[in-house]
Subunit: 210 residues, 2 copies
């Protein structure tokens, strides 16, 4: 099969999904696509560019469009709604590639599409009434909430299980009762937290945070 940039990104994503981000190198990637390392450099300039291409792939699945409609006339939507759409699609995109979370969260961002996404979020928050000095914090705390929740959602369901808790831990055993599963799952927790976070941000904005 002919190698190209897209296929290399596919292979890099599969490698990180399977073996973790530490496993990603030009050498391991070359082995995976059954090529010499040197031939990879015909398509990408190296590991750094590869990471940014993976980032772009994830970002393409994140829905930022709603922010464009915040605060504009007829079909305006509130910033809270745009933030919700964004957070949910962000969660879905990262929950599909949990091993990328740490890598992307701690690698300097060069990818233009990511800056484009951030620009749209910040602009929407501004039009929604947020002061310039707080927009970055609002955006990054929602991101942090999403990434932490993605880790929780991809965890095995028996991470904390009623059966694993010693009988003397009666509170946690009661709370983990299977009849509460719908309100205590990782996904339910994400939704509860996202709603609370957005409600709380609205309160702070109304209180005149500056």
């Amino acid at each position: 099969m002919r190698l190209n940039r897209e296929r290399l990104v596919d292979a890099a994503l599969a490698l990180v999904d399977d073996d973790g981000s530490e496993a990603l190198s030009m050498r391991t990637l070359a082995a995976r696509v059954d090529r010499q390392v040197s031939s990879l450099y015909n398509h990408v300039s190296g590991r750094t560019e590869l990471i940014e291409l993976m980032r772009a792939r994830i970002v393409a699945d994140i829905d930022v469009a709603a922010f464009a409609s915040v605060g504009t006339s007829a079909r305006a939507i509130p910033w809270e709604r745009a933030l919700e759409f964004w957070a949910r699609s962000y969660l879905r995109a990262f929950a599909a590639h949990p091993n990328l979370i740490r890598l992307l969260a701690t690698t300097e961002i060069r990818d233009l599409s990511t800056y484009e996404m951030y620009d749209a979020v910040i602009a929407g928050l501004r039009r929604g009434g947020w002061p310039e000095s707080r927009t970055v914090a609002v955006m990054r705390t929602v991101e942090a909430h999403v990434l932490g929740s993605a880790l929780d959602i991809i965890a095995p369901s028996d991470l904390i299980a009623q059966d694993s808790a010693d009988v003397r831990f009666s509170e946690i055993r009661t709370a983990l009762d299977p009849r509460f599963v719908e309100t205590s799952s990782a996904t339910a927790a994400f939704e509860l937290g996202l709603n609370a976070l957005i409600d709380g941000l609205r309160l702070q904005l109304e209180a005149g945070i500056s």
Copy 2:
């Protein structure tokens, strides 16, 4: 130096801090402490136990005591305050060992001290007025917020930098202005988000979530 359980946990933490959680195996740990793999089994039963010992080490640094004072008479403190103390010390504990976040967030919990911590949190939330069906979600969404924020806090400061953003991204460039650094840092974002999350949870509790 004589090997013991504590020293093995020290070495395992150092190994994960340096090389990532995927690098942790009994073989790599043996190399690190300059012993045969077989001699490690005199102290721990294997990788699984080692992970739980690392978990216990982290949990020991998390302040859960405040939950014991929630809802009790004279020196009672509100659940919101206990949650704040817990979240801040949880953040500090994990920000010191970022490579452990993914590993611990996705490995089945056996460590008793962790269940003890959860039991105290759940009991405190109950006494603070939370319905049984929601305590787990409140606890885990705060945890998710903390872990996502820890990843953000340990990221290099130039992760998203004003200079790296193309001039056409004027919104993000303005928002990243150095004069906003105090209100837009990862730590500021964590505090803004934690306060908002707790405010929002209080609203939901008052609205009679069940």
